[in-house]
Symmetry: C2
Subunit: 286 residues, 2 copies
């Protein structure tokens, strides 16, 4: 089937599936296409539910492009057997991204192994684990996209905490194979943000730009603190101009984890995402 004709102002919008997490991949793809949103960010859980071949057929038949697969990573286990298992999972994630035609596989580093306080060791293992994925990713034509997560997740989710740190890892490898994710929620506070986005752009390292918002107070489950663009403290237009000026010309994903958003009607959420993109993002893209 031919590609979805993007609705006016939505030409670069991608709906990350997690924003309507209750919907199956099938439903998420349908809602995306129906709203005139040309792209989707797909989660591995959704692929597993549908099956890989069926998932690939689904997005192809719908004419929706896949902007990213979320997610690989979780590199930081101290136990060698756990690290090998993570490597195998990441090889599988690369295959899935390739099968879906996704340009990027998002990588979340993983936290400090429980029972230790070895932040430095965990960070070193991230570097080693990514090195081991570069050749398979290059062969598959998939780009590894290192996502720095907000420092409040450094202990238990991701020891890669800033854009500068992510770039420091990525720059040891070829830019077409290893890039970084710029996610508004995770990086908006960074005093070095302008400098690091420019560095990422100059090196051709921006693999994905994800938009959401920092909402206070922090949610009881801190992982669910992300709000819809415009609902929090982030100057989304300014960040979008920064990323755009750095040369990023790919899809802009809206990825929100928030209980109220998840509890709402998925079709209504998709409309709201489209409206916010038109208002806060599209006018600021080059």
């Amino acid at each position: 089937m031919s590609a979805v004709v993007a609705a006016r102002g939505l030409e670069r919008l991608s709906l990350n599936q997690a924003t309507i997490t209750r919907a199956s991949l099938r439903t998420a793809v349908e809602l995306t296409a129906r709203a005139g949103i040309p792209a989707i960010g797909v989660w591995r859980e959704g692929i597993a539910e549908e099956g890989l071949e069926a998932s690939a057929r689904l997005v192809r038949d719908a004419g929706v492009r896949v902007s990213s697969v979320c997610r690989g990573g979780f590199f930081t286990a101290a136990d060698p057997a756990e690290r090998r298992a993570a490597h195998e999972q990441n090889l599988r994630a690369i295959e899935e991204a390739a099968a879906l035609g996704a340009p990027a596989l998002v990588l979340v580093a993983g936290g400090i192994p429980a029972g230790t306080k070895d932040l430095a060791g965990a960070r070193e293992r991230v570097r080693e684990a990514i090195a081991a994925l570069v050749e398979p990713a290059a062969s598959a034509g998939v780009r590894l996209a290192i996502e720095p997560l907000h420092p409040m997740y450094a202990a238990d989710r991701a020891v890669v905490s800033t854009l500068g740190q992510a770039l420091g890892i990525a720059e040891a490898f070829p830019a077409p194979t290893v890039g970084v994710v710029v996610d508004a929620f995770h990086v908006w506070w960074d005093p070095d943000l302008a400098e690091q986005v420019a560095r990422a752009g100059a090196g051709g390292r921006i693999a994905s730009y994800q938009v959401c918002d920092w909402v206070t107070p922090i949610a009881p489950d801190a992982l669910l603190s992300r709000g819809l663009p415009g609902d929090g403290w982030v100057d989304v237009p300014a960040l979008t101009r920064l990323v755009s000026a750095a040369g990023y010309d790919g899809d802009v994903e809206v990825e929100v984890f928030r209980q109220e958003v998840w509890d709402a009607d998925p079709a209504a959420v998709v409309e709201l995402v489209a409206a916010r993109h038109r208002e806060l993002v599209a006018p600021h893209l080059a």
Copy 2:
């Protein structure tokens, strides 16, 4: 009266009053002295309750040194009248620190003004407001100690988010008058930590070292997430060696905001603080 004779291993410990927040300044000073802890970090709320002259007499009579006064700051209001009021409050805080013989006044920057998304403007106002306090602080013999707070507080509490950023502000002014606070909870995650602590030390900028821990999950009130040293993810001995190797030879404050700690018997908390200091901090000081 003569100085408290520090118990063995507690020579550089300071109990920050907030760790036993239910206790009055009088009780906090008594518990500190009784435990053989030679220093205390005092909050302005405690001073206000007791009165400034009485507070100064209290610590002097107890022979307890005051390691810091907490806190000044809150510089980021957009409204000029609010900014003038904050400046007046900070002048008053400088006076209080001088009266208590505290070497440092801790400064918390303040958040983004409600209803705006102007992080950059708020950061600029911090710089201007500190510039206006340098002369009064120098005259009073009080050092302004800029405290970077964890990035999770950037929106609503402190737009100074990293040690590097705090140093960038401090370094525009003479080191004896403007320094920075190294607080374990706020900075432990920073990929640039070793470099920035070394920079702070080389410039003689470490005005205070505060020890506590990062405990997961983040508390329902994020401000109360700080745990006792040893109860979380921070490698306190390693951080202490880093700060010590950078040349810091002042008091080490234990400052914990946590409901369970506040609900416990203050005398028992003081004993626990002393024990953790002996175990995790004292052996790692030069």
